[in-house]
């Protein structure tokens, strides 16, 4: 009994960690004329995210590394960046899903003015968002003075486009937006779609008119980069196609 049942002490198994090389496109407007790549080696677990890698660099290696992040859990939409050539949220990209035998390339999103390292000026992006009136406009008072009632099917109609977190991953993945910064961009159209197809809203015609512009939905060339980039899985190109169709019908 004494010998047979001896079990090894419960030592938690050491979790394997990996040295991951990150190539980060750095830019300091006070010193650099051009952005340049800098590499960092970071010790990470498979379950760590790219955001954890950036934190380790900033906290342990180089405090000057600048990037935006707020909630760090895929809701605030602050840390959209180009990871290995694709727009992703750093907080939703796990190390185990990347090929760490090669360096992981991290750079700022494209098409918006670069301010520092991974930070871009989001103002043009939000200007387009504001321009489509992303708020409920209703001419009639709610029935019995309380709620504006909607059926399940009516709510379902625009459910996909309510998920947007305004991270700009879609807009800055769009080849049209890269070359023509005046284009409203996928995110603004998604947020217009959210209200155009809302049965409680009365301003669809105005929004369709705004987007029936030279720089509106007709700029879309259906490259589907936005749909691939969206961290919320919104079918962005489909939403844009639906807005195009609404425009041709003249009503949602």
């Amino acid at each position: 009994m004494t010998t047979a049942t001896i079990t090894p002490p419960a030592v938690p198994e050491a979790i394997e960690s990996y040295t991951v090389t990150l190539m980060i496109r750095r830019f300091n407007p006070e010193v650099d004329a051009e952005p340049h790549w800098q590499d960092f080696d970071v010790e990470l677990y498979a379950t760590d995210r790219v955001l954890d890698a950036l934190h380790k660099i900033k906290w342990e290696q180089d405090g000057t590394l600048s990037f935006r992040r707020s909630c760090a859990h895929g809701i605030c939409g602050s840390d959209a960046m180009r990871i290995n050539g694709r727009n992703r949220l750093a907080c939703k990209t796990l190390i185990k899903d990347l090929d760490i035998t090669k360096p992981v390339y991290v750079e700022a999103i494209k098409g918006l003015p670069l301010e520092k390292d991974l930070i871009v000026d989001m103002e043009p992006f939000f200007e387009s968002f504001k321009a489509v009136q992303p708020f409920l406009v209703s001419q009639q008072a709610p029935k019995d003075g309380k709620e504006r009632i909607q059926t399940v099917a009516q709510r379902e109609r625009f459910d996909d486009t309510t998920k947007c977190i305004l991270c700009a991953a879609c807009t800055s993945s769009c080849p049209v937006f890269w070359t023509d910064g005046q284009y409203f961009g996928p995110a603004a159209i998604v947020n217009a779609h959210r209200f155009i197809f809302d049965s409680r809203d009365d301003n669809a015609a105005v929004r369709l008119d705004i987007l029936n512009d030279e720089e509106g939905v007709w700029r879309c060339r259906t490259t589907f980069n936005c749909t691939e980039a969206c961290p919320r899985g919104i079918q962005v190109t489909q939403a844009i196609a639906e807005v195009k169709q609404a425009m041709m019908r003249g009503k949602p």
Binding site: A14, S17, T19, M23, R25, E34, P35, H36, W37, Q38, D39, F40, D41, V42, E43, K56, E60, Q61, R82, N84, G85, R86, Y105, E107, K110, S173, P175, R221, T222, T223, F224, N225, T227, E228, Q235, T237, Q238, A241, K244, Q245
Partner: protein
């Protein structure tokens, strides 16, 4: 995190890569179909431009027209015609794909892209051998 791994990451000061430009955006089927559509579209435009000019030449002088058309019979032009047909066939099939995306359903865009490639391959397999025999045997 074990102390020995946390404490000493290899720290490199300003090891600047020689590649200052950003990486190429790694779009998927949709982006590459658009790139091909644009390239073939521009190529077809320039062909049409030249084609209108050489056809208009017959109004200037039939001899000059014949001389120019005679140049088109060379094998190099024959290969160029192959490229032209390849571009037009892709542009045509992908154009149908884009119409279907806009008016039918965007969900099947990837499948449709491979269907376009498949139809393109089939069309070219039917065209190229026959065309090249004509070009190099006559």
């Amino acid at each position: 995190m074990p102390q020995q791994t946390a404490g000493t990451p290899t720290y490199q000061q300003k090891t600047t890569s020689r590649r200052p430009a950003g990486t190429l955006y790694r779009g998927r089927e949709g982006m590459w179909s658009w790139v091909l559509h644009r390239i073939t579209g521009v190529a077809i435009f320039f062909f049409l431009l030249v084609h209108i000019l050489d056809t208009a030449l017959v109004r200037v002088s039939p001899e000059a027209y014949n001389a120019v058309i005679g140049q088109y019979q060379t094998p190099i032009m024959g290969l160029g015609e192959t490229a032209l047909v390849a571009a037009i066939v892709f542009h045509a099939f992908n154009g149908i794909r884009i119409i279907l995306i806009d008016f039918w359903n965007a969900k099947y865009q990837k499948v449709m892209f491979y269907v376009v490639i498949g139809l393109w391959v089939v069309t070219m397999l039917a065209f190229v051998p026959r065309h090249l025999t004509n070009v190099f045997n006559h």
